[in-house]
Amino acid sequence: MRRLAAALLAALLCASGASAVSEPMPDQSVIDGTTMPAKLSAFGLFRAGTSEPLSALLPYSLHTPLFSDYAEKHRAVWMPPGTNAPIGRDGVPGFPVGTVIVKSFGWPDWNGGKPVETRLLIRRASGWVALPYIWDADGKDASLAIAGRRIPVTFKSPDGVSHSINYAVPNKNQCKECHSLKGEIVPIGPKANNLEFGADSSRFFSFPAMRIAPMPKWDDPKSGSLQDRARAYLAVNCSHCHNPEGSASNSGLFLRWTDTVTVNYGIEKRPTAAGRGSGGMDFAIAPGDPDHSFLIYRLESLDPGIAMPELGRSTVHKEGAALLRQWIAEMPKDRQKPAS
């Protein structure tokens, strides 16, 4: 993927000096249509025969990204010429019809850095549509995998440990499980408080007059306090389901950036429907005691009956769990203990 990034950068540098007229553009009729093309190339979002997005797309990154088995993700967004996304006071961009959010997943040391899959989130007149594509062996195009698939991959995590996993490409329904708000599909990542805007983002986003405070980077102590970085991590990795209108609404555990750290944030919250996900513990978060906080237990498990998040993870995010452990360990223990 590093090579891909370099190529992308080169493409951008070239584009900045050249006339945009000669640049290829995505096929807006396919984007706006009602079909689910069998091949990713049908959308014309990538340079022919490659996994490099056209320079007409805006690459972007996030302060705190969702953990996905240590995959490197390359994100880009496309909006039809003449349109852009006004960012609301709540920081949520109002993406126009015709928007495509593109996210490619891969590892620098797997298959020569080629991506394994690319997910599209397309804003059509009828609403958002989520489509998963798996790259063909030759890396020239990707094929629709509407029912998802498991793909064996091997890579090293940042600590040098080698992982061989059956990486799960989500199916169309699973895309919606995470991208669901009141039963409708919505984008999760690109919110103003988590987007790193590049210099050329003004073509795509228009900003409100008020400044929107950014979320910290979960792994950069200079960007925020321990608690705020833990909250950013939980907001990005958990709150797409753990909110009152998400897939985990019935749990009563709500982990949005805007939620206060109380019982509904897990503090001394008893398990609701956790089953053996509780690991024999009384509370999701036991202040001062990460070893008896089943939120940690679930993040560090790979058993499908225990692991959280339920989707998109076949490895443990050691570094993320360590951050949350430290946060819980440093919480004062002096809250009232239950008399059982």
Binding site: T35, A38, E177, T262, A273, G275, G305
Partner: protein, 404 residues
């Protein structure tokens, strides 16, 4: 019709009964023997359109990932729940929190088995008018703490029918209905689960003509704090057989059902307007009926921890209370000549018991008083004013038609 992708699904066999009409419902048949059975079945569940039936062939499906359905008005129909039927075997499951997840309305699930899921068996969330019919959800090695939590698990739904379902081995509740409204659970068997049948944080439910046996607790009606829907009320538990709920509690500690004493028939906690009548209850070593408050600390100003307007009448009681499995129970039993009466009340809230059996009150006037201050004494709850009788639950005719 948007079915280009089906060309790639060579093993999917489309039987369009009436091709002349574009909206004609069709049957998508999927076979257990397909090499990519998991992917093909999931593909069928995604490509189905409202009105369609996804037909599961007979045989054992070896599945590695959870399945999901998000299309309204689809029927998933198998060839039966026994060995010759359609068995979705999740013994090798690698991902997802349940075997099958339904998130769309007006779905009928019928005639198949789901076994050995790592998490829950079949979950439906926000799926109104769902019908679970002639299903088996089972952890085939019997009660084990490593089994999944819930067998059949509808949550946040309006109009739920569970009819002729068999559930065994759930480490929480075999049949669990949570945060829902207008519910019927009938003609089902819950065996060797921690809780056989549990109605939690729900409104308007009829639980009748079921068999709850060899669970830790037979039928539970609960309300818990800090959840989006609470204030459980209007639940009728009637004409059930609730026998021999004697399996030692195997729920992971911390879960609320881990506190259910072995040998509990019916347990009502922190609900209002619950009627328990015309049941046959016997061989429940702690009690045939327990009525209690929620006795844990909570931070939820809206929560009501007491049982209120509970009615127990016209039940047939066999032996009970001979092996009370709560702390101090054996001393109380010894003081009472060896066993407890069949009905146990913790002393907080209000209940009417018209059955001609003994009632033991623990004499705890509120949920704050610790159990150590219990003053066990016989109670006569037959004189209290009877609350107005609850009406029968009626489901939409479209749901009843599906199980005719």
């Amino acid at each position: 019709m948007r079915f280009h992708s089906l060309r790639h699904a060579a093993t999917l066999c489309i039987l369009a009964a009436c091709a002349a009409h574009p909206a004609a419902a069709k049957t998508i048949s999927v076979s257990a023997g397909t090499p990519d059975a998991n992917e093909k079945l999931q593909e069928a569940l995604i490509l189905a359109e409202p009105g369609d039936t996804v037909e599961l062939g007979a045989g054992t499906w070896k599945l590695t990932d959870g399945l999901s359905l998000d299309v309204a008005n689809v029927t998933v129909r198998g060839a039966g729940t026994d060995e010759k039927g359609s068995i979705l075997d999740f013994s090798g499951q690698q991902g997802a929190g349940e075997g099958l997840l339904v998130t769309s309305d007006d779905v009928l699930l019928t005639g198949f088995a789901v076994i050995n899921t790592k998490g829950d068996g079949i979950k439906s969330k926000g799926a109104d008018r769902i019908v679970y019919h002639k299903l088996r959800v089972e952890w085939t090695a019997g009660p084990k703490a490593t089994n999944g939590a819930y067998g059949v698990y509808p949550v946040e739904s309006t109009d739920v029918l569970i009819d002729s379902v068999f559930v065994r081995g759930a480490s929480d509740a075999g049949i669990y209905v949570g945060q829902s409204k207008n519910i019927v659970v009938r003609d089902s068997i819950a065996q060797e689960n921690v809780a056989g049948i549990e109605i939690e944080n729900s409104f308007d439910a009829d639980v009748h003509d079921n068999i709850a046996t060899r669970n830790t607790g037979g039928i539970l009606v609960f309300d818990l704090p800090s959840l989006p829907q609470q204030g459980g009320h209007n639940v009728r538990v009637f004409s059930n057989e609730i026998r021999d709920n004697s399996t030692p509690n195997f729920a992971p500690k911390g879960n609320i059902v881990a506190s259910v004493p072995t040998g509990t028939g019916v347990l009502v906690m922190a609900n209002r307007n619950v009627e328990v009548f015309d049941n046959v209850m016997e061989s429940n070593g702690t009690a045939n009926v327990m009525i209690v408050g929620y006795r844990y600390p909570y931070e939820d100003a809206k929560y009501q921890p007491l049982p209120r307007a509970i009615v127990v009448r016209d039940n047939e009681h066999g032996k009970a209370g001979y092996a009370p499995a709560f702390e101090g129970g054996d001393q109380i039993a010894a003081a009472l000549g060896g066993s407890l009466p069949p009905v146990l009340w913790d002393g907080a809230g209000d209940a009417v018991v018209l059955d001609k059996v003994g009632v033991l009150s623990l004499g705890l006037p509120d949920v704050k008083t610790p159990r150590s201050e219990a003053k066990p004494q016989p109670a006569d709850l037959s004189k209290a004013t009877l609350p107005a009788a609850l009406p029968e639950i009626r489901l939409p005719a479209s749901m009843e038609a599906k199980v005719k």
